[in-house]
């Protein structure tokens, strides 16, 4: 596309519905329908000649929306209104100085002269797959109850929160609901914040739904233009969808900071159809949602116990003073060093969470004096995968980390500690997730969880409360053996 060919149409959303009812005899391009149905793509992302795009637009088969709203500065694609995410630049395309959104920059820069293009022609219809589920596994009692409710929510286009403790086996809980959707020709999306979850989930679901076309979408994936009936996407990739799904399943949302959460909520609302079911999966819902559950204002179901029927390890709080000051002197508070020494002596693997990379590296230097094979890993560590594998193979006795490791990472027999558990970054849900790393396997269902802190926080207390509550409920419902 060259500058002379620039095709900028000032079309606003209000004319969308008017133009929907017009002429349906236009011989539209089936590939365009496939690529743009339920999507919102930038004009430059479209693999079609401009003339063809123009014709479809003129016949009311495409909807154009401005990418950035100036009145109340906001990004139409990601919903950002926070001014700190916008910047200005002199645009060579339109010749004006204009705003662009930095929040969703990785999806292709969207500025004031950008157009988001969606399909406005006839719907793309999906197949009704008879008996789509090929699975012979068995659900636990807790899973069974949740599974049934998910299927009902899918049938009734309702909203449901599935509150399942770490290790409950929540993926299997979705099977019946997805099967229900596929057999009635509905389009489904499973959205998760992390690429590794997409990569883990896609083959797993493909195996049990062999007749269904599945698209796995993440940054750099190749299925970008697939119009699949079942889409598994990172929440980022949801930003390319617009009124696409009849069933929207959102996984693991609560371990993430508020700013991501806001974008996520916006993306979910944009991507689902106005009439659709919305299912949230979480090990630890945020405060506001917990309260709504208690007050009966939110439909929810809990799976309070793990598949292996043992209770969740309850975190122990240990005050260890001004640890940052100690660290700056090259020391670790004695009680936490002893903790590490004891694990090394007993040959028990451990996972230690630190609030910041700098603190983690300092701790690493100190711990390595005890054992040089101790390692650290953070979210952007290029060797992250290799280190996780080494940890799983028991080549690393203690692994320090600033991030919740991949969901697939269930190291069988570990103790877990947090240093500086009072840090803001450790929200209630993050702490519940962290505690959930211990005692995952049926073979080693126990493991200790220790929060080393310099002052208890509301988040720490909340996390412990949540875990105790789940154990109590699990016992009451007969889902825990002891």
């Amino acid at each position: 596309m060259t500058k002379e060919e620039t095709y900028l149409l000032p079309v606003d959303e209000s004319s969308f519905t008017d133009r929907l009812s017009t002429d349906r005899s236009f011989p539209f391009h089936a590939d365009m329908q496939k690529i743009l149905f339920g999507k919102q793509l930038l004009l430059e992302e479209l693999p079609f000649p401009l003339e063809e795009i123009r014709q479809h637009e003129q016949h009311g088969y495409l909807l154009f929306r401005k990418g950035i709203k100036r009145e109340l500065l906001s990004c139409v694609r990601c919903g950002t209104t926070d001014a700190s995410w916008f910047a200005e630049f002199p645009c060579a395309r339109c010749g004006k100085v204009e705003f662009y959104c930095r929040k969703c920059l990785m999806m292709g820069r969207i500025s004031e002269c950008s157009q988001l293009v969606s399909w406005a022609g006839p719907d793309l219809n999906f197949r009704q797959i008879a008996d789509p589920l090929q699975w012979s596994g068995k659900l636990s009692t807790g899973q069974q109850a949740a599974s049934q409710q998910v299927a009902e929510a899918v049938e009734n286009s309702a909203e449901l929160l599935v509150w399942a403790v770490a290790g409950a086996g929540k993926t299997e809980v979705l099977f019946a609901g997805i099967a229900e959707a596929l057999s009635t020709g509905k389009r489904i999306c499973v959205a998760t914040p992390r690429t590794d979850v997409v990569l883990e989930l896609a083959p797993r679901l493909q195996k049990v739904f062999p007749d269904c076309k599945i698209a796995a979408l993440y940054g750099g994936s190749e299925d970008r233009h697939e119009a699949a009936q079942l889409t598994i996407a990172t929440t980022h990739q949801l930003l390319r969808f617009y009124r696409a799904f009849e069933v929207m399943i959102v996984d693991e949302v609560d371990a993430f900071p508020y700013s991501i959460d806001q974008t996520l909520q916006y993306a979910v609302e944009q991507a689902r159809k106005p009439k659709s079911s919305l299912i949230y999966l979480t090990a630890t819902p945020k405060k506001q949602w917990q309260q709504q559950c208690r007050l009966g204002k939110r439909a929810f179901i809990t799976i309070p116990a793990r598949y292996h029927r043992h209770p969740l390890p309850v975190p122990q709080f240990i005050w260890f003073g001004n640890w940052e000051k100690q660290l700056s002197k090259g020391k670790l508070p004695a009680i936490s060093s002893k903790w590490a020494e004891a694990r090394l002596a007993a040959g028990k693997q451990a996972l230690i969470f630190a609030p910041k990379i700098a603190a983690m590296e300092k701790t690493l230097r100190i711990l390595r004096r005890m054992d040089p094979s101790i390692e650290s890993v953070h979210a952007e560590d290029p060797d992250r995968k290799a280190k996780v594998i080494k940890f799983r193979n028991k080549e690393i006795p203690i692994l320090l980390t600033t991030t919740i490791l991949e969901r697939g990472v269930t190291i069988p027999n570990i103790d877990v500690a947090v240093i500086g558990a009072e840090d803001r970054i450790f929200t209630e849900s993050a702490l519940v997730q962290i505690a959930g790393r211990a005692g995952r396997s049926a073979e080693f269902p126990t493991g200790t969880v220790t929060f080393f802190h310099y002052g208890k926080t509301e988040a720490m207390l909340g996390a412990r409360r949540q875990i105790l509550m789940m154990n109590k409920e699990g016992r009451k419902k007969g889902l825990i053996d002891r």
């Binding site: 910047a87 200005e88 002199p90 645009c91 060579a92 662009y100 820069r109 700098a358």
Partner: protein
């Protein structure tokens, strides 16, 4: 208003100390962690291309020049084309990532990170015209801006357009041998008289030095006396 790091979007906390107290403090564009990740080029460098010798094995240099430059200077066709290049940072993975986000993702505002350093660096040169390496029309449309021009403007200087990219169609009309031996990438597109003027070319990175020499050659052929270049990284 709060300041956020342009790279990691962390809030930048005001860092009061005795040294900053007495100095006029400009609003920081990036946080300390990100700032530490850049590796400024210091110490001994190649007298022509500005490559730091500290990271170069002895066999890759010849007295005050790196082997690459020595080779350029041996070639009659290219000898003395580019008088001197200077760059700010080493092209580390971190710098590479930031520059990629700046030019390929089109994050224009990242130019502000470098504004102060670029300003100081450009002031160290004596020149008549500050010339950004141009993009093709197609690239310019794709990216929405020329990254070299963005660096110049953001640092508070005025760019002069003397060159443009030769259209690829024009290129393909030439014979094969012509293209290989005279791969004309740029053409001189101005009425300005360059008689005995000094030009300072600006680009984001110096990789092989070929692009800058191509541009320098055209400029000298059109009367420039000296051609220097400045890049963000190398």
């Amino acid at each position: 208003m709060k300041d956020y790091c342009l790279i990691c979007h962390q809030e930048i906390k005001a860092n009061f100390s005795w040294t900053t107290l007495f100095r006029e403090e400009k609003a920081a564009k990036i946080c300390g962690d990100c700032s530490d990740n850049f590796s400024p080029i210091t110490g001994e460098i190649c007298e022509i291309c500005g490559r730091p010798f500290a990271f170069l094995e002895a066999e890759y240099k010849l007295e005050k020049r790196c082997n690459d430059c020595a080779r350029w200077e041996e070639d009659e066709q290219w000898r003395g084309t580019l008088d001197q290049n200077r760059s700010l940072y080493r092209y580390t993975d971190f710098t590479k990532e930031v520059i990629a986000k700046f030019k390929f993702r089109g994050d224009y505002v990242l130019a502000e990170i470098f504004a102060e350093d670029v300003q100081l660096a450009l002031q160290a040169f004596h020149y008549d015209y500050l010339v950004p390496i141009p993009l093709s029309g197609e690239r310019l449309y794709e990216r929405g801006f020329n990254q070299a021009e963005a660096l110049i403007v953001t640092a508070g200087f005025e760019p002069t357009q003397l060159l443009s990219r030769v259209h690829s169609e024009k290129q393909s009309k030439k014979s094969r041998s012509e293209r290989i031996h005279h791969p004309q990438v740029f053409e001189f597109t101005t009425d300005l008289q360059l008689n005995s003027k000094t030009i300072l070319l600006v680009d984001d990175i110096y990789t092989t030095g070929s692009t800058l020499r191509q541009a320098a050659k055209i400029l000298k052929r059109n009367g420039a006396a000296k051609v220097y270049s400045f890049t963000l990284a190398r």
